[in-house]
């Protein structure tokens, strides 16, 4: 019994220690420092650096395409038809004598535009429907889930083909088709996040203090659920470019003479034995961009995912 009294808790000492702890935590690093740590974390991921730098390069090329390209992407030439790579035409020319390098350079514009816009559509539509489904449950959830399952029942390319062949084949069609193919990815992701967030006290607290549903969904659920969706956007951009290129390849996307990599691949395939450069260079461009998006996406995922944070 006497032993017990000697181990009596020293409340005041503990409380003092606790206040020191409070001081220490509240003087934690500023937001600027945190942003810096994030960039440092991301840059320790070598693949994401490669991806990021390549994409930056691609973006610069897309923006300054008219200044960089040695020729107009649509200028034809009767003297240099299917000319092999040379000093004048580093990637050769196609069957109309157009400079492949210039067309590949201008192609970055179409590719990036399709990737960003269609992913934007998919992201907005998907996140919104996913959040509604997750928050309200019941019949709203049933409808959204059925819609997701239906779109997922078809391979992305078949889905895109079907949509593109119903609508007029042009750029808008491609954007809508790809948006509709990929919205389910985001809807599913955000729905799952919202389902787990809904059980947390701060969402219950938002309800308990009388915030409206709209405020809860837009101010508290979506901002919290969106971060993993950002990673997926990056990873899916590559897929969007692939689907867009496939649609163009099959003649259902962007129409000639627009310099789209998919079209270039498609027109080059009949000369593959005699003039390999017509399809190989646009093909390489597609591979490079998709790869860069995937590298960057993986880097982002590893940096943001809190489950991996402890291991570092």
């Amino acid at each position: 019994m006497s032993e017990r009294t000697s181990t009596e808790i020293d409340w005041d000492g503990l409380l003092e220690e606790w206040d020191d702890e409070v001081e220490r935590i509240s003087s934690a690093e500023s937001r600027f420092e945190r942003a810096w740590f994030f960039i440092k974390d991301l840059s320790s991921h070598r693949l994401s650096i490669i991806g990021g730098v390549l994409l930056l390069g691609v973006a610069v090329i897309a923006i300054f395409a008219p200044q960089i390209a040695p020729y107009s992407p649509t200028a034809i030439s009767a003297t240099a038809v299917r000319a092999p790579p040379s000093i004048a035409h580093p990637m050769g020319t196609d069957s109309l004598g157009r400079d492949i390098l210039s067309r590949v350079i201008f192609g970055t514009r179409i590719a990036l535009m399709i990737a960003i816009t269609s992913m934007g559509i998919a992201f907005v539509v998907g996140s919104l429907l996913g959040a509604l489904a997750g928050y309200y449950g019941g019949w709203v959830d049933a409808i959204v889930r059925t819609a997701i399952d239906t779109t997922w029942a078809f391979p992305a390319i078949i889905m895109g083909l079907a949509l593109a062949s119903i609508l007029e084949p042009d750029l808008t069609t491609v954007l809508i088709a790809i948006g509709l193919v990929f919205w389910g990815v985001f809807a599913r992701l955000v729905r799952g996040e919202v389902l787990s967030l809904r059980e947390l006290d701060f969402i219950k607290a938002s309800e308990a203090i009388g915030l409206s549903d709209t405020k809860i969904i837009f101010k508290h659920l979506i901002p919290n659920a969106i971060i993993p969706a950002f990673v997926v956007v990056t990873l899916q951009m590559g897929n969007a470019i692939a689907v867009a290129a496939s649609l163009s390849f099959l003649g259902l996307g962007v129409q000639p003479p627009t310099p789209s990599w998919g079209i270039m691949l498609s027109t080059g395939r009949q000369y593959i034995t005699s003039a390999w450069w017509i399809s190989v260079f646009p093909g390489l461009a597609i591979v490079l961009v998709i790869m860069s998006f995937n590298f960057l996406g993986e880097g982002l995922r590893d940096t943001i995912d809190p489950k991996l944070e402890d291991k570092r």
Binding site: W11, L15, W18, V22, I25, S26, A208, L211
Partner: protein, 324 residues
């Protein structure tokens, strides 16, 4: 002072599941007077949290309030429209949650969360809401309110987050605060400090609180009245002194026996035999009879009168609160 603030009368809340209806609350009666601190004590699954959710009309699906009435300041909460109820939440009744690590939104600074919620509930401008926020952060003994306002939840410790939650709830200036075990997720030392801070403010401002817990020690220190809940019914109600000194219901007595006592350190810890009944199929008669040491044959068939939640009463056929 003795004006009834919240009156719960014969409240039934059911959960319709695929395998049958679960009667989570089976006629809860409880009155909270203005300026009173009432402790709602029970085991897990006894219906304490469902009671809180029912008061705010936020029972998780598939639950629904099947019967009874809840009156706040003479207003029937169950007949209000959903938007009317949204005005009651936060403004009239506010809630402090159990787990401080999840009760604040991680993507916003404390400043924007406090300003948003206080401004919303009290129709205040951002500047006014901010001064209220600072005032209450000081009241909960936060060392540097300005810096706390600029931080994000992950920069604060559990005790600090819980004090922010308390400051936020107090900032709404509610009539009633429902506290759902707000200290259980904290370390014991922090628990003590948070309790002391909260108790001081509640006493200074004469606030009404419904404190939900399974910890009788906490209740003894904090509350005026205690309602012991078992299997969706209040089985005993009374002042702290009634419950601790003159417990009438066998369940209350057993519950008091389970509190570890440093004076009786050599004894084994006491447990109440058996488990909380399955509420899909509650026992007949008195719900506690299968675990009751004093059970008589009539307990199996006759349901004891329920307590009305106004003075010391026990819902028991064998023992009467007045005889104690």
């Amino acid at each position: 002072m003795t004006q009834p603030l919240l009156e719960i009368d014969d409240l039934h809340t059911n959960f319709d599941t695929n395998s049958g209806t679960v009667n989570a609350l089976r006629g809860v009666n409880l009155t909270i007077n203005e300026g009173e601190r009432v402790g709602l004590v029970g085991e897990s699954g006894s219906g304490k949290s469902v009671t809180a959710q029912s008061i705010l009309r936020l029972v998780d699906s598939p639950g629904r309030i099947a019967d009874g009435s809840i009156t706040l300041n003479g207003r029937d909460l169950l007949s209000l429209s959903e938007s009317g109820m949204q005005n009651v939440r936060g403004r009239d009744i506010t809630m402090i949650f159990q787990d401080p690590s999840t009760s604040l939104d991680p993507v916003y600074s404390i400043r924007s969360q406090m300003i948003e919620t206080i401004g919303h509930n009290r129709n205040m401008s951002d500047a006014e809401a901010e001064s209220v926020a600072i005032e209450y952060l000081e009241r909960v003994d936060m060392p540097n309110p300005e810096r706390i306002l600029d931080s994000y939840p992950h920069e604060l410790s559990g005790g600090m987050k819980q004090r922010v939650s308390i400051a936020m709830a107090l900032g709404f200036d509610p009539d009633l605060i429902i506290a759902d075990e707000p200290t259980t997720a904290l370390d014991v030392t922090v628990q003590k400090k948070v309790m002391e801070i909260f108790k001081d403010i509640v006493e200074e401002e004469d606030l009404s609180v419904l404190w939900i817990t399974h910890n009788l020690g906490v209740v003894a220190e904090f509350c005026d009245k205690i309602a012991v809940i078992y299997a969706g019914e209040v089985v005993e109600y009374g002042s702290v002194y009634d419950i601790f000194d003159r417990p009438a219901h066998p369940y209350t007595r057993e519950l008091l026996q389970t509190i570890p006592n440093i004076e009786r350190a050599d004894e084994e810890l006491r447990v109440i035999e058996g488990t909380v009944p399955n509420m899909r199929d509650p026992p007949s008669g008195c719900a506690f009879h299968p675990r009751c040491p004093d059970a008589e044959p009539r307990c199996e068939t006759t349901r004891p009168d329920r307590v009305d939640g106004r003075e010391h009463q026990a819902s028991c056929l064998v023992h009467d609160a007045e005889d104690q």
